[in-house]
Amino acid sequence: MSLTLLNVIFAVVVAIAFAAANAAYLVWAERRGAARIQRRPGPNINGPFGLLQPPLDGIKLMAKQLIIPGGADKVLFIAAPVLAMYPAIMSFVTIPFSDTIVAHNINVGILMIFAFASTGSMSLIFAGWSSRNKYSMMSAVRAVSQSVAYEIPMLITTITVVMIAGSMDLMEIVHQQSRSILHWNIFPLLGNSHNILMPASFLIFFICTLAETNRAPFDLGEAESELVAGFHTEYGSMGFGLFFMGEYANIVIGACMTTILFLGGWSCPFGLFPGVWWFLLKLYLLIATFIWIRWTFPRTTIYGLLNLSWKILIPLSLVNLLLTAGLIKVF
């Protein structure tokens, strides 16, 4: 695949459009879903089913003034929301949606996505540091400990999958799972791994995705009831908007990765209607689960959060890693 300038521009525009559209309408889906769970109708005034709500919110945010608090570190303050949004957009470049729909497949796709994802928490730290606000500062401190704690089990689990596939190429990982539904990495024994702990591995990865995207019940960075709004307390207008969109774009990336690594990407069960919609179906089911979880569980404490990672997720994922390595050697 040759990368001409035109290709690059096209890929970037499509990635930004996909990320932005998803971010906007996931906010709508989130609000409608939350409302249904709480037995309210949710946004239903603007347009049919409130579908015009996201663009109108966007216009409102763009029309507002971006206020930089006195004494804030201006450069970091402005850079932070951009940093929140760009890793997600960059990651879309290498995520394969089907055999043909991929902007640019590189053979270390996983590495690239995790490299960009790890800079995502930088935006929280920058925002918290530069706001010159106690609440934001506390939030930044929490964000650091949280991202350190949850990147470890997430990466160990990813290494497990990479060992099974023998490749960091996302396309290759999906191809190895596409022989049948039983070859999806989530299923043990008959699949590629022969590892009975793979469902647990999937759960660990999913929980880490929740934590890495700062979603409830792990949204300690925001923690409205304790820290006002955490790192984005001082942000208004599109600065806040970018944080918000970044959060949802990161959710899409997290769900994409879960789909590719564990649920067989675009491969279809039993050879039914193969195509990109299988990927989208799995993707949006996962995102619906994200929303469902957010409106089910209350926020954990910071100790609960760190205990879960250091005492449960990391040991379990290490055991899983060793077991997988052993089984690969045996079979």
Binding site: G33, A35, R36, R39, P41, W292, T296
Partner: protein, 146 residues
């Protein structure tokens, strides 16, 4: 070691139980009332401000005895009436309720022996001006009959 795994297991199970609860709630109908677009009918015993009761001819039942005026602890009620030539009963000409002072105690309704006063079901009361809460109940009766 056993309790470690037991805790993980029971914690995980409790998470799924929680998710089951919200999953069921998701498919139940919504219960909120979209207020400006839909309203609930007020309950039988709701106490709004007082209202005059009319007879079959659309005139107030009131005979201007003035008991409600005297019963009112906050002196909200001002009423007046005249006795036209050749009639037996007085006719109400003015019934002003100063709702800014009314505490909805209901003494006026209780004191009325002629079935002339009742509580209305009016609850959409909001205004920026004080004068809006001085109701001319006779006028309201006429407006209702229009």
């Amino acid at each position: 070691m056993v309790t470690y795994f037991k805790d993980i297991y029971s914690g995980l199970v409790s998470l799924f139980i929680g998710m089951e609860v919200t999953f069921k709630e998701f498919f139940k109908p919504t219960v909120t009332v979209q207020y400006p677009y839909e309203t609930l009918t007020m309950t039988e015993r709701y106490r709004g401000h007082v209202e005059l009761i009319e007879n079959d001819e659309g005139k107030p039942n009131c005979i201007v005895c003035g008991l409600c005026q005297r019963a009112c602890p906050s002196a909200c009620i001002t009423l007046a009436g005249v006795k036209p030539e050749g009639e037996k009963k007085k006719v109400l000409t003015k019934y002003i309720l100063d709702f800014t002072r009314c505490s909805l105690c209901g003494s006026c309704v209780e004191s009325c022996n002629f079935n002339a006063l009742e509580f209305s079901k009016e609850y959409n009361l909001a205004s920026t001006r004080r004068e809006d809460f001085i109701f001319d109940l006779l006028q309201r009766l006429e407006d209702r009959n229009k």
